[in-house]
């Protein structure tokens, strides 16, 4: 058997693996690596981690592909990024504009049938309990299955163009009534997207898939 260069890469990249006992590096570090900006002392451990952890190998290849396919190098913004910014913002009471978060204590039940289409990668966690079919714009209630250990939720409702229409943080129930004025100017048949983030006791955030919704 002869392994040409392409086969060697392909076999290497398709191997599944994890790195037990190692914490996966922040995605930001892979972004820096492909730009030649990783902290020198972290370079070795960062690259070696991708040898054992297939998910981080995917992350590294994704970062490389993005960097090499853009028209020119990407500038790293000095803006603070990451969840910290988001959750500090929520804690400061910025929850009115664009997202919903909810906290729950009960275990998540299994999925139900007849619900709306779920979009997003997190199916199997929180699920929409909004019935299928067009929903009325007055009295619209977003409901979801609880997430174990959640203290509160953040809920976000957005247009298909991802313009945030309504956002509510600090929700303690597993449902939220959307104010009619938020939906008043939307056309009949408008498709909306919504999602829920569960904030856990240790500050970790678990995100639901994005759910579809159609207005009457």
């Amino acid at each position: 058997m002869t392994l040409d260069a392409e086969r060697l890469r392909s076999e290497f990249q398709s191997a599944e693996g994890t790195a037990p006992g190692e914490t996966c590096p922040a995605p930001e570090l892979f972004w820096q690596l492909v730009r030649g900006e990783p902290p020198a002392r972290q370079l070795g451990s960062l690259v070696r981690h991708t040898l054992r952890c297939s998910a981080c190998g995917s992350a590294l290849r994704l970062a490389r592909d993005l960097e090499t396919n853009v028209e020119g190098p990407v500038v790293v913004s000095p803006r603070p990024l990451g969840r910290t910014r988001l959750w500090l913002g929520l804690a400061a009471g910025l929850g009115v504009a664009s997202a919903l978060a909810v906290l729950v204590r009960a275990p998540a039940p299994s999925g139900r049938t007849g619900m709306v289409l779920e979009r997003g990668p997190a199916a199997g966690a929180m699920r929409s309990l909004v019935p299928a079919g067009p929903r009325p714009r007055t009295g619209l209630v977003l409901a979801w299955t609880p997430f174990p250990g959640a203290l509160r939720y953040v809920v976000t409702l957005a247009s298909p163009k991802l313009e945030v229409l309504y956002k509510q943080a600090g929700v303690r129930e597993t449902e939220l009534r959307v104010p009619p004025e938020v939906l008043a100017k939307l056309p009949s048949g408008a498709r909306l997207v919504w999602k829920v983030e569960a904030v856990l006791g240790d500050g970790e955030v678990q995100e639901s898939p994005a759910f579809d919704l159609v207005l009457e």
Partner: protein, 169 residues
């Protein structure tokens, strides 16, 4: 190239272009089980960007900001899903499909583990798809040095695989 000229060279990258490129990149590099959710994955990433900005005007943001946040959230989702799949397999004790013949990927990794440190890094990057000039940039070496170390590392890797009966010259 300084930061300003870099910025101007990317001035045409709007959210739509970035989203399209992200979609293609995710399609190429996401784990196989995620392929059916490529678009949803990017969609969710964008929703999170919007959420962070709280409906502010996107045009004031550097394109690099979109790139970096979108990349980060996509990777978060890949990891989350991978962890769930691993956990589900463990809980359900599903039988693991055994492919006939050697696990080439595992054998290649084993051989890479045995390379000397100086060659291990460039070989890993090469196997992850990096060209020599990209290896050089990541490691902050000259391209010549990267090329040399990749070449010698791959030679050593092939010898290791040959010894395992997995690669014939």
């Amino acid at each position: 190239m300084n930061g300003n000229s870099r910025a101007s060279s990317r001035g045409g990258s709007g959210p739509a272009e970035i989203r399209a490129l992200l979609l293609r990149a995710v399609a190429r590099h996401c784990p196989r089980e995620l392929h059916s959710q490529q678009e949803d994955l990017v969609h969710t990433a964008w929703l999170r960007i919007v959420e962070r900005e709280g409906g502010e005007d996107f045009t004031r943001l550097e394109p690099s900001y979109f790139w970096r946040v979108a990349f980060t959230v996509v990777i978060d989702e890949i990891r989350r899903r991978g962890a769930r799949a691993t956990q589900a397999r463990a809980l359900e004790a599903l039988p693991v499909a055994v492919a006939p013949g050697p696990d080439l990927g595992a054998e290649i990794r084993d051989c890479v583990e045995k390379l000397p440190a100086s060659r291990q890094l460039p070989v890993i990057l090469h196997l992850q798809g990096f060209r020599n000039i990209e290896v050089a940039r990541a490691c902050q070496w000259t391209e010549k040095r990267a090329e040399n170390l990749v070449y010698r590392g791959l030679e050593q890797l092939r010898r290791c695989l040959e010894a395992k009966g997995l690669d014939a010259p």
